[in-house]
Each structure stands twice: as C-alpha cells, then as structure tokens.
C-alpha cells in the first residue's frame, strides 16, 4: 500500500484538470505543489543537514528575478529563466554560503535572514535592472489555461522528490545527517563540513530558485516585496517543513497542503483575512510545543494521543 500511494496521488494530480475542478482550485493546487518543492528544498538544508535558513526568499527571489530580467531586459521568453536560474542561483548561494556558513545554529539562521533582507533592499533600489518597486510584468502569458503549469510544476516536484530521496540514501546524505547531529564529531571523522554544507546549500538554493523562476512564469508579475518577502516566503517555507515534518520525505507535501488550504480558508473571512499570519503564528507555536518534529515526524506521538495502533 505504501508503495502505490504516491503513484495514486501523482496520477490523481495529473488527471485533476480533466476531473472538472474549477480554475481556482487548480490554482490552489499549483501553488501548493510549488510550496512542496520549496519545502523539500529547505528540508534538504534545514532538516537533513541541520542548517536552519531564514532566508530562502533570497534564492526564491533571485530565481524569480532571473526569469523576469531575462524577459524585461533581453526580450527572451521567461521560461529560459528556469535553466539559467540554476547558474545564477548557484553563484548567489556560493557567496551567501561563504559568508553565512561560518556561523552555526541560530546565528546561521539570522545571517541568512539578513541576506534575504539585503537582497530585497538591493532589488528595490537597483531600479535600472529590476525596475524597483514597480516590479516586472510578463505581458505575454504562455498559456491562459492552467493545465500545463500544473504539469510543469508537478514534474519539477517529482524530480525534486526523487533527487532528494536518492541523495539522502547516498553517502552524501549520511554526511549531511552527521553534520546535523554533531558538527564537531563529523569534522573529527574526516568530513569536510564546510564543503558538504556548501553542497547542501547550493542544491537547496537551486531547487528553490527553480520554484522562483516558475513563479514568475506562472504569476506573470513580480516585485521585490513579494518574492523577497520575509514572512510570506522565508517563514512560510520554514512553516511548511515544521508543520509537515522535519527530515521526512513526505512532510513538506503535507505541510504545504495544510498551509495553503489554511491560508486560502482564512483569507476569505472578512476582517481577519488580512491578518492570516496570526493563525500561522499560533499554528507554529502549537506545533513547536506539541509536535516539534512535525506531523509526519511525530506520527507515533499522534497515534498514541488518539489511541490508534498498537497500545503497549
């Protein structure tokens, strides 16, 4: 059963445009899958390698702006941003890694947070390149229908999932976990921690950047406040993983589904809609206190609470 379940899910998602669901639901689905990709990318760095980043908006934004600038300055199709963002985001990740990876634990978290803000302010002020707060608008949409967008992001998500699964089972994955568990011990065993942390950061950044480039193509409009947002991107990324399950392969997908459905549901409540972060904050506090490893990570705990499964 466990083996077929992912296939059934993917098949259901792939067929969903033909099941007559409306455009709004399709949009929610696309955004949720996009967040799954970002969550899985963050999970590689934060969950497996133990480097909690508060600045994934930096990579998301760089990916998004690579696409946007290609379109607005060079007149190329914004889709070229997907392959090109790999290179650009890697360069940014190397620089950010050089500065931030010398920090540990919470200080790394805050260093990356600052990086995200630096990039946002830079994008706001470099009006020649990024058009500043005006943002970049993609005037020609590739498809009006959302079906193809769904397939593209779905393929991206499946590839990300397989890549991370393969990676974690390989030697590299064991190095990552060793670094998370005890950096000094890993170092003393001969693991070049900085080197492997940089690999984890670059991979995670590239995947996030791809999601960003997809976002530009899908939404057709970006501005610094949206793609470099601290709360709406960086923190939500962390929440997706924290709610779903840290260092689990399915956690980000479940977290993304919960977060996006919750955000959409709360947004429609009048008056409270503008403040949907209140509920995010409360959810985050509750999850951290009661399920510190997320829903998937703490399944045994949940089973115990609800009295399901074997009672000893």
């Amino acid at each position: 059963m466990k083996k077929i379940l992912p296939l059934i899910l993917i098949a259901a998602l792939a067929l969903s445009p033909f099941l007559g669901i409306n455009t709004y639901l399709l949009h929610v689905l696309i955004i949720a899958i996009m967040w799954t990709v970002i969550g899985m990318a963050w999970n590689l760095l934060g969950g497996y390698c133990g480097q909690v980043s508060f600045g994934h908006a930096a990579f998301f934004g760089v990916g998004a702006y690579t696409s946007g600038i290609l379109y607005s300055k060079l007149g190329l199709s914004a889709w070229w941003g997907l392959p090109l963002s790999v290179i650009v985001v890697t360069l940014f990740a190397l620089v950010i890694g050089f500065i931030c990876l010398r920090l540990r634990g919470p200080y790394f978290a805050l260093g990356t947070l600052a990086m995200g803000v630096i990039l946002r302010v830079t994008a706001e002020n470099l009006t020649g390149l990024t058009a500043g707060n005006l943002g970049i608008m993609i005037r020609e949409r590739t498809w009006v229908d959302k079906t193809w967008y769904l397939y593209i992001i779905l393929v991206l998500a499946i590839l990300t999932y397989l890549l991370i699964k393969k990676l974690i089972a390989s030697k590299l994955g064991y190095y990552f976990v060793a670094i998370r568990e005890d950096q000094d011990a890993a170092e003393s065993l001969g693991i070049d921690t900085t080197y492997y942390k940089t690999i984890a950061l670059c991979l995670s950044a590239v995947l996030t950047g791809l999601a960003g480039a997809f976002y530009t193509n899908y939404m057709g409009y970006i501005d610094p406040k949206v793609v470099f947002a601290l709360h709406d991107i960086s923190i939500v990324t962390i929440m997706v993983v924290m709610v779903g399950g840290v260092a689990t392969s399915w956690g980000p997908a479940i977290g993304a589904a919960i977060m996006i459905i919750m955000a959409e549901a709360i947004r429609s409540i009048p008056k409270l809609g503008a403040a949907h972060h209140t509920f995010f904050g409360v959810l985050l506090i509750v999850i951290i206190i009661f399920l510190p490893n997320g829903i998937v990570g703490d399944i045994p705990k949940l089973k115990r609470w609800f009295g399901i499964g074997k009672n000893p």
């Binding site: 919470p106 805050l110 600052a114 630096i118 998370r180 601290l230 709360h231 995010f280 409360v282």
Partner: protein, 308 residues
C-alpha cells in the same frame, strides 16, 4: 563651500549619535536575553511595537505624553515578557526535537502573532503622536551669535537621547551594583557555576526576559515622538537589534552600546551621502563585515588587540 560640507557632516554625525543612543537601548535588551538565555529573541522588534502602541493609546485617549508612558509601558512589557518566557519559551527549551533552533522559530511565531493582533486591533494605518514640541529645534546660532556654521538639534530627538542615556546608566548601575544584577551577569557567564553558587537560574532567566522586554518597551516610547507607527514595524527593528548584538559581541552590554552608536552613525552617513533607500543596505554591510572580519564583535576585537 567647505563650511556647508562641514555643516552637513556634523549634522549627520549628530543625528547619527542620537539615533545610535536609541539603537543602543534596543540592542541592550536583546544582548541581555541572548547572554543569559542563549536564545535569540526574534520577537524583539514586535515587543517594541507593542510598547509603542501602548504609548500611542495612552497619548490619544488619556493625553499622556509618550515620555511619561515609559513608566506604564515598561512594566507592562516586563509582565508580557515574563509571561512569554514562563508559558511558551521555557516549555520548548525542554522539548526534544531534531532541530535545536526550535526556540528561534518559536519567537518568530510569537512575533507574527503580536504583529497581526496589532493589525486586527489598530488596522495597518500609519500612526503618530502629534506632540506639541514635535518640530521644535534648538539652533546653534541662538546660543552663539557669530558661529561660522549652523547646526540644529531637534528637541524630541535630544529628549529621547537623554532618556536613553539615563536608562542605560540605570541599567549599568543595576547590573554592576545590585545583587540581582550580579546574579544575572553570573548566569550569563556560566549557567552551571551560577547554579552551584546558589543563584536561582530559572528565576533569573524569567526576570531577564522581562527586563529585556521592558527595555525595548521603553525604547519604543522614546521612538514614538520621532517616528511613525504601524503594526509591521517590528521586523526591521528586530534586525537592527540583532545587527547591533553581532557588531558589539554576543551578550556584551558595553558592546551593545558601542555597536548601537556605530550603527546609528553609519546609517546616517549612508542616508546622507548615498541615498535614503540604501540606509538599510548600509546596516547589513556593517553586519556582514562584522561577521567576516571581527566575528567576536567589537569587544572581543579590542581584547585581542590588547593581549597581542
């Protein structure tokens, strides 16, 4: 021509120092919490925002001057900090989890709730307290008729600066001369040793979080007459406080004061000579430079210079 440039430079330095004094107060609260509890409080700016809204409400409904509301906002924030520490942060410190950064993420959650509750209650409009002396200023030529250059000092800025210095001095007295202050510093230095010496470490932690919150609440009251207020303002001040702590050295009170002043002056210089919009970038350039070149902060840097 040179005198004009000199005027601009001096004026920039003065406003930088004034800003730096307030920043120092902001950084002090964070550095205390970081030193004693070894956690980073990412809800720091949001606590300041709460302090500012308390002062704002007191001003608009009871016509209490923002400077006087320090005496109401600081105790209120102290209480809030104690409650947060006791019921949210302490339980999390005990929970076993994969990621040890849980407490940091928890404070982010607290900050989000505070900022959004403020949005729900006060809406996200920009607010300010129109105090009568808001635009008063003191000119150098009034004091010294023949002065070759003209400088001016805004009254609310100087009053705020004065209060910040007074609070900092009071804090210094508290930390160095009283038993309670000494216990706090002992806990910051070595948790276990302090415990063995009979310091109630658990109580000190709760008290320190309250004290840090009270300081930032007071800083909020001082910022209110010269700044405007909106619910999302917390985030940027959290970052400022964090930059100051990194710059000054983690957990060092002297470092926080020096770091605050440096940051204030540097930010004013960037705003004057490069452009208003770039001031936040200047802040982070300092931050990155501090991380790369003086990882232990200014205090550690001076110590190492003296030793070698």
């Amino acid at each position: 021509m040179i005198s004009v440039q000199l005027e601009v430079l001096l004026q920039t330095l003065i406003s930088g120092i004034f800003l730096g004094g307030l920043y120092a107060l902001l950084g002090l609260g964070m550095t205390l919490i970081m030193g004693v509890m070894k956690i980073i409080n990412l809800a720091h700016g949001e606590l300041m925002m709460v302090g500012m809204y308390i002062a704002y409400v007191l001003f608009s409904y009871f016509h209490i001057d923002p400077y006087l509301s320090i005496f109401i906002a600081a105790p209120a924030l102290f209480l809030l900090g104690v409650l947060l520490q006791k019921f949210l942060i302490n339980p999390v410190l005990k929970v076993e989890s994969i990621l040890p950064e849980n407490q940091v993420i928890l404070t982010v959650g607290i900050g989000m709730v505070l900022a959004n509750l403020a949005t729900i209650i006060f809406t996200s409009d920009y607010r300010s307290t129109p105090v009568s002396y808001a635009t008063n200023a003191c000119y150098l030529s009034d004091l010294w008729k023949k002065s070759p250059i003209e400088l001016c000092v805004s009254i609310p800025w100087s009053v705020s600066f004065f209060f910040a210095v007074a609070i900092t001095a009071g804090l210094w007295f508290f930390l160095t001369k009283t038993d309670m202050g000494k216990s706090i510093r002992a806990t910051a230095q070595d948790n276990d040793a302090a415990l063995l010496m009979g310091v109630n470490v658990g109580k000190m932690r709760i008290f320190t979080f309250g004290l840090g919150s009270a300081l930032v609440g007071a800083a909020g009251c001082l910022f209110l007459p010269i700044y405007y207020l909106y619910p999302d303002l917390g985030g940027q001040f959290t970052l400022i406080a964090f930059v100051i702590t990194i710059l000054g050295g983690l957990g060092s009170t002297v470092g926080a004061i020096v770091g605050g002043l440096i940051l204030g002056v540097f930010e004013s210089l960037t705003a004057t000579y490069i452009g208003m919009g770039w001031a936040p970038v200047g802040r982070f350039v300092i931050f990155v430079a501090a991380l790369i070149f003086i990882p232990g902060g200014i205090v550690a840097f001076f110590k190492s210079q003296r030793l070698s």
